[in-house]
Symmetry: C2
Subunit: 311 residues, 2 copies
């Protein structure tokens, strides 16, 4: 059983409108509502691949109730959110039918009280110590009220429970948590540059490892993934550029890395899986879903280059 | 006890953003969530004035659950929605902090099945026949699936139960229902012109009465209300132009007219109440609320001109 943590989970709404014109009234022609937040997206991809996965974090209010119910309906997903008095945030993506462009409106999320944070820590401790927990992913931004050192605490708790931990966040929460020595961090190029001050992937990943991360996997958009790990350094690229919607591609890459971590796969295989899942998500018609046929096809065709470290 | 019907009730969200820029991502700085839909707004104004009021219509899904819970928390409001399998719609008003302008996104609402519509009719029949029901207001648009003659049916059922009925809708549902002889219709100038083909208020209200409405109260924006009734014709105007947000001003006017109808007030008093409530709603800082001090002040100062019909 893998575990994903989404402290600022969301109910994601997509509104289709003919064209968004500020300061006018629009009839929304189609509404899609689905559970969201990075860790929730990762869990959904894992479940679709056939893995058992538990989701935790916070859920509250009417939106939180819908989030719990919808996730509980998904096969292989166990829902273990801690309660919060405020309501789970919504995100609204307004999609222009004319241009295909989207306009994003993100609610801030509920403010978490110290007592709610303490109760979540108990839930999390119990989950990481549960027999059969094979890996944990900590994903996304922190909601208001959660201390900036939250992920550092969660990384340490996972390591103390001997559960490997992957971290996908940015800014100060990432900086603090890297020092707690997570097994994997997965920043994009911009997040990695913000952490290290370096824009060149080799230097930046080396610096991030020096700061405490055991392995650094930088996502480079169409160029795939660049990984620096205790076992060596690799770049994994899709065989050809993939056209489509990049929403959720990063979360699919995390699902690939996390399942590879849980299974103890060699790094080149983990990276191939992550790149194939990510590209299959870009290629899928619905945002955040992945196309299974594309995934299975790409899995054998991702080019992984690099070298194993000297023993 | 007054009754308001909102067939397409809503959960109204207001999102404050610094400025809405299409095809970019926005952090929403403030979220206001409240029960909405015309009949729900009317009920809230009535309750604020100290009246007991029952709300009915349809509510469903996670949004419908929040709608029921929030309304049940309001004093003097009894919640009697019929269930619908689909989810109650949301409306999102995106308010630019810079300009104060809003961009409106309205979900279509759930499709009502014939069985759900039949079950609502039973609920409605029971409510209009309940001893102590003094007046009913039928408000707003029809959700998908509800027959276009719905309001005609509801007007007839109220009249059969000897409960006076006010109708506030537009287009074909209004045209059909006027023939069923509602006690009051409250179109705005545009809706009245669409019904009658006349833009001049005297001619248009006369034509609407000829079509079946006992009394026609046309809302003329800053010019107040123009009423043609079996008792005579009047115009009621606020003593001075009111600056502010007109959202909900029409619903406040309906609340004034409905409570006047329930109490059997003389028409000039009903109109003064409706205009004072409407202007006090425009003047209130929060959209759809009314300012009580402004209301009480205006109530004595609304100018009602016109004449009583010959006996």
């Amino acid at each position: 059983m893998m575990l994903t943590v989404t402290l600022n989970a969301a109910l994601d709404l997509t509104y289709r409108v003919p064209a968004l014109t500020p300061h006018t009234t629009h009839r929304v022609t189609e509404v899609i509502e689905r559970p969201g937040g990075k860790g929730v997206n990762v869990a959904r991809v894992l479940a679709a691949l056939g893995h058992e996965v538990t989701v935790t974090g916070f859920a509250g209010g009417g939106t939180g109730r819908v989030l719990r119910e919808r996730l509980a309906d998904e096969p292989r997903v166990t829902v273990a959110f801690a309660p919060v008095a405020g309501a789970t945030r919504r995100t609204v993506a307004v999609a222009d039918a004319a241009t295909g462009d989207t306009t994003q409106l993100n609610e801030p999320g509920p403010t978490v009280t110290p007592a709610e944070w303490a109760a979540f820590l108990d839930t999390y401790e119990a989950l990481v110590h549960r027999p059969g927990t094979t890996a944990v992913a900590l994903c996304g931004s922190l909601p208001p009220g959660v201390p900036v050192g939250a992920y550092a605490l969660l990384v340490r708790a996972a390591r103390a429970a001997h559960v490997p931990v992957l971290l996908d966040t940015s800014g100060e929460p990432l900086r603090r948590a890297v020092a707690a020595r997570p097994d994997i961090i997965k920043p994009n190029a911009e997040e990695l540059a913000e952490l290290t001050g370096f824009h060149e992937p080799v230097r930046a990943t080396r610096d991030a490892r020096r700061r405490g991360a055991h392995a650094v996997v930088a996502s480079l958009g169409a160029d795939g993934l660049f990984a620096l790990t205790p076992d060596g350094g690799w770049q994994a690229r899709p065989p050809a550029p993939v056209r489509g919607n990049p929403t959720g591609a990063g979360d699919s890459a995390v699902a690939g890395l996390l399942s590879g971590l849980a299974e103890g796969l060699p790094w080149p295989d983990r990276l191939a899986r992550a790149v194939a899942l990510s590209a299959a998500t870009v290629a899928a018609p619905a945002a955040g879903e992945f196309d299974r046929t594309t995934y299975e096809d790409l899995l054998t065709r991702v080019a992984v280059t690099g070298r194993r470290a000297a023993a």
